[in-house]
Amino acid sequence: MSILVHSNTKVLVQGITGSFGGVHAQHSLAYGTQIVAGVTPGKGGQSFNNQVPIFDTVGQAARETGATASAIFVPPAFAADAILEAIDAGLELVVCITEGIPVNDMVRVKRATADSKTRLIGPNCPGVVTPGEGEGSHGGCRIGIAPGYIHKKGNIGVVSRSGTLTYEAVWQLTSRGVGQSTCVGIGGDPVNGSSHLDIIKLFNEDPDTHGIIMIGEIGGAAEEEAAEWIKQHCKKPVAGFIAGATAPPGRRMGHAGAIVSGGKGTAAAKIEAFRQAGIGVADTPSSMADTLLKMM
């Protein structure tokens, strides 16, 4: 098993005819992911690379192809609309890759979808990968922009706010012969769909996830919230790393959400919360995998 997606998950891509969306749809197809539809308003009836049918709306695409998950690559100004359209179409999972969505748009989306059954991952995230059994984890489900081949099918869950730092952790595991159940990038924005905690709860219930790497960074209190829950309820070993101990307060470190403001969201506070919760803290980003493996 895995969480969120598996090898048979049918995925549609919103913004498949854009350059970014197109490149990554192609990578996902090459990885063996079931990309069954694309959505670009006005291009319904055409096809992507003579392989994937394109529809005008998400609703049509889902009805015609049975897609249950979406990857969103539309530009920031149109992304909130695209997320709401995917939720309206009743998809189970919506993964928004788009970076640079206005915060207030996400405040609106979050409010409008408070009671929705759809799970939103992102925005501003690398996406979700459940590795497959083939060569270079081929045959898995790759939604987003992560390099597929660095993964290996196995039993470690990875959740992170950062893209390349997730790849770093995944690669450390794979290089040590340790595979992953599912890897989830929840995104670096201040308002996002799923939190660390939402994903940790899923890993906790997944029988094929035996250990968890949680990567956080400065800003907000999502890591502290997850740590508190882990302390009380988590049945599995968790190791973590917090990026940004050297970041100056008041500055946004690349990610819109990575900012220490008003003395809140510091790396020190998050690391302390990890320690209190019995989460293994990696001294450096080089030792994320080893820190977890020592606990298992």
């Binding site: 990578h27 920031p76 100004a77 640079g100 206005p102 915060v103 207030n104 748009d105 996400m106 405040v107 609106r108 979050k110 409010r111 409008a112 922009i145 992560a146 390099p147 081949y149 660095i150 992170s160 706010r161 950062s162 893209g163 390349t164 730092l165 790849y167 770093e168 690669w171 670096g188 201040p190 308002v191 990567i215 960074e217 400065i218 800003g219 907000g220 209190a221 999502a222 919230e225 790393f241 990026a243 940004g244 101990a245 050297t246 970041a247 100056p248 470190m253 690349g254 990610h255 819109a256 959400g257 990575a258 008003g262 003395g263 790396a267 001294d283 450096t284 980003p285 080089s286 030792s287």
Partner: protein, 401 residues
Amino acid sequence: MNIHEYQAKQLLSQYGVTVPQGFPCTSADEVRKAAETLFSAGTQRVVIKSQTHAGGRGKGTFKNGFQGGVQLRANVEETVSTAQSMLGQTLVTKQTGEDGRLISTVLIEKASNIRRELYVAVLLDRDTSRPLIMASRAGGMDIEEVAAKTPEKIIKETIDPAIGMMPYQARKLAVALELTGPLINQATKLLLGLYKTWWECDASLVEVNPLCVVEGPDGADAIVAVDAKVSIDDNALYRHKNIQAMRDLAEEAPLETEASKYNLNYIKLDGSIACLVNGAGLAMATMDIIQHFGGSPANFLDVGGGATKEQVTAAFKIILNDPNVKAILVNIFGGIMRCDVIADGIVAAVKETHLNLPLVVRLEGNNVKVGQKILQESGLPLITGDTMADAAEKVVRSIQK
């Protein structure tokens, strides 16, 4: 993006927030005109406020020796001569660093007789993903200090973004701020205006500190936003052309502005080891690991997912502009992009910039062996690192000789 106080007040007054009567001025002539207008309308005193995004203006010192970036004056001539001591001068405050900021605009305002100072701000509450109004009866003070020492004095009201701020919420706040009588309705209008500014301008922060109860024209109490700070969500600037025009490049670090032209996210720090990384999380983590091994990072630099030759070259040029830099660490995780392409880019960039500082490169990912071979066979004196830890140790050691 931050904007100046006078620009913030212009926005606020468009949304019905009462601000003191005032005029932004860039020359002595404009100051004279503004002062004459205010004094001839019966103003007793005017305040001259240096315009810079940096805080601590009042206690700042100009490089010409003039003390205080905010001054009260009681006649036209003194107002003009004071403004002349500020305009075109560099103000150093606790937030500017020793370089200070060039003051090219002063705000000339009617000074009010202040009876009470309050605090109010509108911001995003990340825990609820909703707007939050934060207020305090202790105005004029650093809100972080109030929150730390007397948290009970902080008043909070969460706004449902689907309905917006309701008048009853503003009234609740007004009463909690111990306002009474006609001030309740005045404060309600002002608070609703603050929220509307925050929401409609896509602000990340609207802060009024102090919000003042002052002596009104008829001697009765009135409520006025005496100071104002507004920052705008960069992601939303595309839909606010009027606010884009308020950007003041003189307030930004020149290297950071230069970096943004190449889609590089660069933040200058005080250390001596520069880093060049792809991805924000990995870039922060690279700074952290430099410190872990006893070095100190000179910057945050995220070249994005691609790390092309053009970007790496531009990044090296920016890094080399910082005289504190003694060594460079390149840490690239080549996911989709192949490491050999990245290595070619690094080699070309080193040659083009005639780099002569110790350079440690750590490449990982797609086609990494070919990438490392290109680096080793380039004939350049660069050092390769196998892991982040290995690379960080080597770069720290390179300057400890």
